[in-house]
């Protein structure tokens, strides 16, 4: 919905990759409990920044 909004100028590929990554992180954590909640928030934030910056 938001991806199609030109005003926000989101890259659909980046968005989809991020969505997949976050889903995976959450799934893995539901299974492995690798991260505490705050650590996982930081990890997701890092992933967003890395992908948005194109790294």
């Amino acid at each position: 919905m938001i991806i199609e909004n030109d005003e926000l100028e989101l890259d659909k590929n980046v968005f989809n990759t991020l969505k997949k990554n976050i889903t995976q992180l959450e799934k893995n954590n539901a299974r492995d409990k690798n991260y505490a909640p705050d650590e996982l928030t930081s990890e997701i934030k890092k992933r967003i920044e890395r992908l948005v910056d194109g790294n």
Binding site: M1, L8, L10, I22, Q24, K27, A30, R31, K45
Partner: protein, 673 residues
């Protein structure tokens, strides 16, 4: 997830170390373990439960094999170990790969002394030594350890693979097949299995990130943006409150929907009792009317007996007798009415002319006639009076002519009313007995049903209002977002942060929408799925309902056989698995891609039709089936299941030196398939 093997060391009657490898083939997915009663079939299921979930379902909690325990010297110890190796398809570094887990549970036991039992035999006194330990190793395909799960996380990781709350649905002992729908609230586990918890956690984390970026943005100096930001924060708090209320209301609505359905089903089931109660109410009304009619009818009869006509009626025989007697003397009393001897004397002596105009001279025929007539008249004769009395009596008798008919009809009517009253009272007594026997408070049921309908209406209205408010607040937030986005677009200082924020915001919205949608639909979807499986194997008209705790129930509360219970519960398991798989395909949210079913004695107390049904459901339900059965039950099911059998074992009790089966040790023997 598929179970590759289980290894048991001194676990109950499984003496020494024994390993069973299960079929993991996609087509030949069934492993059969055939064994007599008490050979160790249920113990095997319990070994899985102990290893994975630390459940100890035995009356005697000592798990150490009795023969081993007996052989221990004082202060000597021995371990009970159960190891389960399973493979799970998981995403690792964005790749779907097969991960092997070795899950081990260990408990040490120590012999603290020796004592004589009631048979005067020396027995070891055994107690646990140290804590129960669990470990999980991730293995590569060669069985080498890649990593070990931190000990504090062992149980959480197992829960992540297959939740403990749902274990009853995947590790099913014989007695549980029929009673699997216990009081456990499965909501959270089903949410986990469907991936809803993943969505919820993702949206919560993203929200924190969005809030963090918003705080970090330098918006000072721009009044409009600061105002938009402040409004947005306020509105978001309101939105959270409303969304919480919506969720609570949805639960309430689901509760009343459930209540409504249950009351309707109960009312339907008790239709005859309802009819009886209605009839009783009608009868109570009729009896009241009849009682009133009886009282008035009785009063009418009593009043009729007290009336003057009654006297006339009851005097009729006497008066008729009088008239009969008087008729005998008719000629003697026949005279000119109302004339007296004085009148005749006046005609003879004074007037000398009769009324008819004839002259009366002494000795003439007219004179003689008048003298004769004079003799019948008063005062010398009462003939005239008697004549008058007769006429009056006749009239009096005639007046009672209709009386008998009237009182007869009145009395008959009174009797008929009383008879009717008696019948109705008897009918009511029978109904009272019936209604009392059922002991169903129909009025309360009706009231509960009406209350549920009314509450549903009220709560649905409240929900609609909340949705309207939610929509309106979302619109306001969206307007604020636009203002902020416009500012960020033109602002060079925050160029990096604004990009992060936009993605984080868009991701939050995406996860939140998906979470809301899934949360509201999963129970209905599960219900549809379970009914779809159930209808394939059950040819009756029953419908399965999933309540707010995700427990499985019939819509109609009717009796069910053990076989039907098993079919219903296995339909639930099947539906749950199907929905989880469907959910996984749709959204990539569910980690578990394969589901095992470990089931003991599913055919006990079940007739042939249901054995066939269950034999059809079980292989269709799960990706792997481990089934423990008695020989005769397997013979009944084999025809329908043999095409799926990949491995087959016999669980056999050991025999002692004289060939007698031992209760304390058993072995699993591999059979060729």
């Amino acid at each position: 997830m598929k179970i590759e093997s289980i290894s048991l060391q001194n676990f109950r009657q499984y003496i020494g170390k024994q390993e069973i490898n299960f079929s993991t083939d996609d087509d030949k997915k069934v492993t059969v373990l055939v064994g007599d009663n008490t050979a160790g079939k249920t113990t095997l299921i319990r070994a899985f439960e102990w290893c994975l979930y630390r459940k100890n379902g035995f009356k005697d909690p000592i798990l150490l094999n009795k023969d081993v325990a007996q052989s221990l010297e004082v202060n000597e110890s021995q371990d009970v170990i159960v190891t389960v190796v399973l493979t799970n398809k998981e995403f690792r570094d964005d790749e779907l790969c097969e991960v092997k887990y070795k899950i081990e549970r260990k408990q040490s036991y120590i012999c603290t002394g020796k004592t004589y039992d009631e048979k005067n035999q020396l027995q070891s006194v055994i107690t646990e030594s140290g804590q129960m330990r669990g470990s999980i190793h991730r293995l590569n395909s060669d069985g080498q350890t890649i990593s070990e799960v931190e000990s504090g996380l062992v149980n959480k990781v197992i829960d992540g693979i297959l939740p403990r709350d749902l274990s009853d649905y995947f590790f099913v002992t014989g007695e549980r097949v029929g009673s699997i729908t216990d009081d456990a609230d499965l909501k959270e586990s089903v949410r986990g299995l469907m991936g809803i918890d993943v969505l919820e956690n993702a949206k919560d984390h993203l929200k924190k990130i969005v809030n963090g970026y918003n705080s970090a943005l330098k918006k000072s100096g721009n009044v409009d943006v600061e105002k938009a930001q402040s409004t947005k924060e306020t509105k978001q708090k309101q939105l959270e409150g409303i969304e919480k209320q919506i969720e609570e209301l949805k639960d309430t609505i689901a509760y009343y929907e459930n209540e409504k359905v249950e009351c309707a089903a109960e009312l339907k089931k008790n239709q005859s009792a309802i009819d009886d109660q209605k009839r009783r109410e009608q009868l109570e009304k009729i009896i009241k009317e009849l009682e009133s009619d009886t009282v008035s009818g009785k009063a009418g009869v009593v009043s009729a007996f007290s009336s003057p006509t009654a006297y006339a009626f009851f005097m009729r025989p006497l008066k008729k007798k009088i008239i009969e007697l008087m008729d005998k003397y008719e000629k003697d009393i026949e005279t000119v009415p109302d004339m007296t001897q004085t009148s005749i004397d006046y005609l003879i002596n004074v007037r000398k002319v009769c009324i008819c105009g004839t002259h009366i001279s002494e000795g003439s025929a007219a004179h003689q006639c008048l003298l004769l007539e004079r003799k019948k008249m008063p005062p010398e004769n009462i003939g005239s009076i008697a004549k008058r009395f007769k006429n009056y009596t006749t009239t009096y008798i005639d007046s009672a002519d209709g009386y008998f008919g009237a009182i007869d009809s009145q009395y008959k009517s009174y009797r008929a009313t009383r008879k009717q009253l008696g019948y109705k009272r008897e009918e009511k007594q029978d109904l009272d007995k019936n209604i009392g026997k059922d002991d169903v408070d129909i009025k309360k049921l009706n009231d509960d049903y009406k209350e549920a309908v009314q509450k549903l209406e009220t709560k649905s209205q409240e929900l609609r209002k909340l949705y309207e408010q939610q929509g309106s607040i979302k619109k306001e937030i969206s307007n604020c977002d636009k203002t902020i986005a416009q500012f960020l677009k033109s602002d060079k200082v925050n160029s990096k942060l604004k990009n992060y924020l936009m993605y984080a915001q868009a991701l939050y919205t995406e996860f939140n929408d998906e979470y809301m949608q899934k949360e509201s639909s999963v129970r209905k979807d599960l219900e549809l799925m379970v009914n779809s499986v159930f209808n394939k194997v059950y040819h009756g008209t029953r419908t399965i309902m999933i309540n707010t705790k995700y427990q499985v129930q019939y819509l109609e509360k009717l009796d069910e056989s053990d076989g039907l219970k098993a079919v219903k519960n296995l339909s639930f398991i099947s539906g749950l698995i199907e929905l989880a798989k469907e959910s996984m395909e749709e959204s990539d949210l569910v980690e578990v891609t394969e589901f095992p079913l470990v089931i003991d004695a599913p055919f006990s107390n079940i007739d042939g039709t249901h054995i066939k049904n269950i034999s059809t459901i079980i292989p269709a339900t799960a990706d792997q089936v481990i089934i423990a059965v008695m020989k005769e039950h397997w013979e009944a099911a084999e025809k329908d299941m043999e095409q799926y059998v990949g491995k087959k074992y016999v669980i056999k009790k050991d025999v002692d030196s004289v060939g007698k089966e031992k209760e304390t040790s058993t072995h699993v023997l591999d059979l060729e398939v």
